[in-house]
């Protein structure tokens, strides 16, 4: 364990959701969601579209607001206090389905923007850190290019590097490979696997079963706004318990 010498014998909780509920108008998207993520844990969240999985992780960095329940990230409770939100967002990185790189900035500028403006790190130092992470995702030679000049897979790796430049303690992935050509999925997954092996706390919404089996500590299956099943990847994929999980797995593995 990473925190073996911590005074607290219990593992440190990085993210905790307690009875979280959310509505879009009349529509109940999250129903009594409870979840504890320990530091260093890798969680994969899957489920049919519209099941609330993206909404759940977007609540963790307040891109969506929950209306009932409690979300505690890194010991800080998410509420309407803007200071708490800012503090949490600094520690939580996010990778989006459509990359959301800033198209008017070069790859390097994309990576330096937040460290310079949020963490007030001098440009030189921010650029050095950015190059380090770009090297880690294996695209340092593209640093001076604009996102529009890169392939989808390269853009997603830049997006990962951009998040890492803020040195987050928790990373959220919202279907990071769903918008990619099949040939590019692997390069992004490799980057994510490497990141997982370095001990990062990760919550990934993804349907990449290979990735889940390789790195996940547990798999969460959601349907209609509820967490329906949570198990180790082996158990979940080989012996799903809930009828809905069985149906879902048979559908995505059946073709």
């Amino acid at each position: 364990m990473e925190n073996a010498n911590a005074t607290n014998a219990k593992p440190e909780i990085a993210v905790s959701l307690r009875d979280v509920n959310k509505w879009y108008g009349e529509f109940h998207v999250l129903k009594n969601v409870n979840l504890d993520v320990e530091r260093g844990q890798r969680i994969v969240i899957c489920g049919p579209s519209g099941s609330g999985k993206s909404t759940m992780i977007r609540c963790i960095n307040r891109l969506e607001e929950h209306q009932a329940g409690q979300i505690i990230v890194d010991g800080i409770e998410l509420n309407n206090d803007l200071k708490n939100i800012d503090q949490i967002r600094r520690e939580v990185g996010m990778v989006f389905q459509h990359f959301n790189l800033f198209p008017h900035l070069t790859v390097l500028e994309n990576c330096c923007l937040a460290p310079m403006w949020v963490r007030k790190i001098p440009r030189k130092q921010a650029e050095a850190t950015a190059m380090e992470y770009l090297e880690r995702v294996k695209i340092p030679h593209q640093a001076k290019k604009y996102p529009g000049q890169l392939s989808g897979g390269q853009q997603q790796r830049v997006a990962i590097a951009r998040s890492l430049c803020m040195k987050p303690r928790i990373m959220l992935f919202d279907e990071p490979t769903s918008a990619l050509d099949p040939e590019m999925i692997k390069e992004v997954l490799d980057t994510m696997i490497e990141l997982a092996e370095s001990g990062m706390t990760m919550l990934c919404v993804t349907h990449e079963m290979g990735f889940a089996k390789t790195v996940a500590d547990s798999v969460i299956f959601m349907d209609a706004g509820q967490i329906i099943e949570m198990n180790t990847p082996d158990e979940f994929f080989n012996h799903p318990q809930h009828e809905r999980s069985k149906l879902f797995l048979s559908q995505i593995l059946g073709h």
Partner: protein
């Protein structure tokens, strides 16, 4: 079923001869068949028939230099009219002895703009700061005087192109930030801020500029306390700025709407505050998209400045109209209007070209 496997990679060849070059272009586009050929010939003859007399009148048979209308003897255009009144058209009734001040301001303006626009000029950041914060002060002190022993020149004496440029530049520079704030306010999630911005924009945009100018020059003094007086030019400037800001706000808002939501989300997820995200992520992209719309507004504003004529300010067009209404110069309205058109066109075309240059230099894809 026979499997097919392609084993050769074809080389890229140059296009066949006769498909490119001006001759091929003309054959394809102007003379592709006898109907198109006839139309081409007829149109060319028509254009020449209109153009030749004009060139003849405006250039070949024209008189250029002189002191009075008696010098116009050739029967063509009488540019002597413009030549004689040139100083009036440029500076209005700005006092003769102080002309150097207006010219100096013009010189500084040209140098500053050149410094801002030409690539590779060093210390750009300082030029920008100078242009935005110090140039207005320097220009005001020089033009208006009253400081450093410079005689005071009342704004009543400002006129011609000088006045047109003062109104246009102040209008553009002041309306731009205000327009951005209004656009952001209109998209705000705070209901009161949003309501104020919507009302402001809709009121100013729904009123003709002439009404705004009349209000500022006739109505506003009625509401001010006795004895208090605000300079007529200043009143017009405020009116034009607020009017223009309302238009710009909608142009900028259209740009903001074109930016995908993901950009704001990415900025937020990285921890940037609202203003940081706007300043570094959203506005640079939104403004780039609406450059054509913004320049469109600026060009419209530049020409709308001529409306200040009706509240008794003598801009370029008003001085020209005044000059050809003078009994000594009756009958030279065409020359006057052509000259006005040329000057307006030079500035508007300049803005248009510059905006296209900016658009190209901001392109970040292939």
């Amino acid at each position: 079923m026979v499997a097919y496997v392609n084993t050769e990679t074809l080389p890229s060849l140059p296009p066949p001869k006769g498909l490119q070059g001006p001759a091929a272009w003309m054959r394809q586009n102007l003379f592709s068949n006898w109907i198109n050929g006839t139309i081409t010939v007829v149109l060319v003859i028509g254009i020449l028939a209109a153009l030749i007399p004009f060139v003849n009148w405006a250039f070949i048979k024209a008189d250029w230099v002189g002191t009075s209308r008696d010098d116009c003897t050739s029967g063509g255009a009488c540019w002597v009219f413009v030549y004689v009144h040139f100083k009036l058209f440029m500076l209005g009734l700005y006092p003769e002895a102080e002309t150097w001040r207006a010219l100096l301001v013009g010189g500084i303006l040209v140098l500053t703009l050149a410094g801002l626009m030409i690539k590779g000029v060093p210390l750009k950041k300082y030029i920008q700061i100078f242009a935005l914060f110090f140039f207005p002060i320097v220009a005001y002190v020089l033009l208006s005087g009253g400081y450093f022993g410079l005689p005071h020149v009342e704004t009543n004496f400002w006129g011609g192109l000088l006045l047109t440029l003062v109104i246009a530049i102040v209008g553009i520079v002041a309306a731009f930030p205000l327009g951005i704030l209004l656009a952001l306010g209109r998209r705000s999630s705070m209901p009161i801020v949003k309501a104020i911005c919507v009302v402001f924009i809709e009121v100013w945009r729904g009123v003709p500029l002439i009404t705004v100018l009349f209000m500022s020059s006739v109505m506003l003094p009625l509401f001010l306390p006795e004895g208090m007086e605000i300079d007529k030019l200043l009143r017009a400037l405020v009116g034009i700025t607020l009017f223009q800001a309302a238009y710009l706000a909608e142009v900028v808002r259209s740009g903001l709407q074109a930016i995908p939501k993901g950009q704001t989300e990415a900025a937020n997820a990285l921890g940037l505050t609202y203003w940081q995200g706007m300043y570094k992520v959203i506005l640079p992209q939104a403004l780039k998209i609406v450059i054509p719309g913004i320049v469109n507004s600026f060009i419209a504003l530049f020409k709308d400045t001529s409306l200040v004529l009706i509240i008794g300010l003598f801009d370029l067009l008003a001085t020209i109209q005044g000059a050809f209404s003078n009994p000594k110069w009756l009958g030279y309205a065409i020359e006057g209007y052509l000259f006005a058109a040329l000057v307006y066109w030079i500035f508007c075309f300049g803005m248009s070209r510059y905006s296209q240059h900016v658009e190209r230099s901001l392109k970040t894809t292939h």
